[in-house]
C-alpha cells in the first residue's frame, strides 16, 4: 500500500461505457477509493452493497466513494444496474490493473485487485488506507472514523 501523507497518483478510468472519470476532477472533495476483487459477489454479503447505502453518510463528510476493479465497463454497467448502485465503479481494464498497481493493491496471482481502501483528502493527499483479507468485507467503520478524524483535525487547525 502507498504510505499516507503522499500524493494519490492521478488516473482516468471509464466510469460508464463512454465516460472517463479522472481522480483530479474530484479535488475539493474527499475521495474513498475502494479496490475490490470482482463484480458479482453474493449480495447480502457484499461490500459494495453496504457502501451503496452509505452515500448520505459519506456526503456529510464531503466524501465521494468510488469502486475500482479490473472488470470491464460492461460488467460494471450490468452490476450497477442489477444492484442499483448510486456511486461510480471504475474499470481498471486496459492496461489491466494499471491503477491497482500504482496503488500497490494488484494481486498478480489472481489477476484481481486486493480488497483495499484509501481515503484521499480534498488536496489529493492519501490520509488513510486499509488492506482487508480478501474474503472479508471490511465494513464502513474504518472509513467513517478516518473521515471524522480528518474533519476534526481541520477544525483544530482553523
Amino acid at each position: 500500500m502507498l504510505p499516507t501523507e503522499t500524493i494519490a497518483p492521478d488516473f482516468a478510468l471509464y466510469s460508464t461505457p463512454d465516460q472517463k472519470l479522472q481522480l483530479s476532477e474530484l479535488r475539493n472533495k474527499k475521495v474513498i477509493l475502494a479496490f475490490y476483487p470482482a463484480d458479482w459477489s453474493p449480495v447480502c454479503d457484499d461490500q459494495m452493497t453496504l457502501y451503496n447505502e452509505m452515500g448520505k453518510y459519506f456526503s456529510r463528510y464531503n466524501a465521494q466513494l468510488i469502486g475500482i476493479s479490473v472488470d470491464s465497463k460492461w460488467s460494471h454497467l450490468a452490476f450497477t444496474e442489477h444492484n442499483k448502485f448510486h456511486f461510480p465503479l471504475l474499470s481498471d481494464f486496459e492496461p489491466k490493473g494499471e491503477v491497482a498497481r500504482k496503488y500497490e493493491v494488484y494481486d498478480e496471482q489472481t489477476g484481481e485487485c486486493r480488497r483495499a481502501l484509501y481515503v484521499i483528502d480534498e488536496k489529493g493527499i492519501i490520509r488513510w488506507s486499509y488492506l482487508s483479507p480478501v474474503g472479508i468485507n471490511p465494513g464502513a467503520d474504518g472509513i467513517l472514523n478516518a473521515l471524522e478524524e480528518l474533519d476534526s483535525v481541520k477544525l483544530i487547525k482553523q
Binding site: 447480502c44 451503496n52 442499483k84 465494513g139
Partner: protein, 179 residues
C-alpha cells in the same frame, strides 16, 4: 475485534432476561433472505438459553436492494408503540416475501393493533429517525452484512447457519462465572 459502539440502552427492543449473562444483539434487515434464515435459528436460541439470554434486535435495512426493508422496520417500530414490537417482528420475518403496504396493514390487523393509530405512527419522523439511528450505530460498529451479531458487545465473526451460534453461546455461557 470489533465492538458494539453503542451499548444496549433503553431505546432498544429487548426480549428475555434483562440481567442475563449473555447479551445477543442482531443487526438485521426484514427483507434479507439470510436474516429470514436466521430468524428461526435465533428463535430456537431464545428457547434453548431461556433466562440466560437477553436478545436485542436493531435495524439495518439495506434499502437500495431491499425496497421494503425500511418501511417494514418502521412498521415494527410503530407496532412497538402499541407494545407489539416482537409480534410484528415475527410476523414480518415469517412473511418476508410479501411486505407491501397492504400486507403490513393486514399484519397490523392480525395483531389487533389500533389501525388508525398505526397508520399515523408509521409516518412519524421519530420512527424513521430511530431506524436510521440503528443503521448508523451498526455502521460504526463494523456491521458489514446482514445479519451481524454481537455477543456481550463483541462482533461475532463465525458462521451461524447450522448450530454454530448456539454452540458458541453455550461455550460463552460455560465460561461466565456463576454468581
Amino acid at each position: 475485534m470489533k465492538q458494539l459502539t453503542t451499548p444496549v440502552n433503553s431505546n432498544d427492543h429487548i426480549i428475555g432476561n434483562p440481567n442475563a449473562p449473555i447479551e445477543l444483539v442482531e443487526y438485521g434487515d426484514y427483507e434479507c433472505p439470510y436474516c429470514g434464515r436466521a430468524y428461526p435459528i435465533v428463535k430456537d436460541i431464545k428457547q434453548q438459553l431461556g433466562k440466560d439470554l437477553k436478545f436485542v434486535f436493531r435495524n439495518f435495512p439495506l434499502s437500495k436492494i431491499h425496497p421494503h426493508a425500511f418501511s417494514a422496520a418502521v412498521a415494527t417500530e410503530a407496532a412497538g408503540l402499541q407494545d407489539k414490537f416482537w409480534e410484528m417482528h415475527d410476523i414480518v420475518f415469517e412473511n418476508q416475501k410479501t411486505l407491501d403496504a397492504k400486507d403490513i396493514f393486514a399484519f397490523a390487523g392480525q395483531l389487533g393493533l389500533d389501525i388508525d393509530r398505526f397508520r399515523n405512527d408509521i409516518q412519524q419522523t421519530s420512527l424513521v429517525d430511530k431506524v436510521e439511528k440503528d443503521f448508523e450505530t451498526g455502521m460504526r460498529s463494523g456491521v458489514n452484512r446482514t445479519p451481524t451479531f454481537f455477543i456481550n458487545g463483541q462482533k461475532y465473526e463465525g458462521e451461524w447457519g447450522s448450530g454454530q451460534l448456539l454452540q458458541y453461546l453455550k461455550n460463552v455461557l460455560a465460561e461466565v462465572p456463576t454468581i
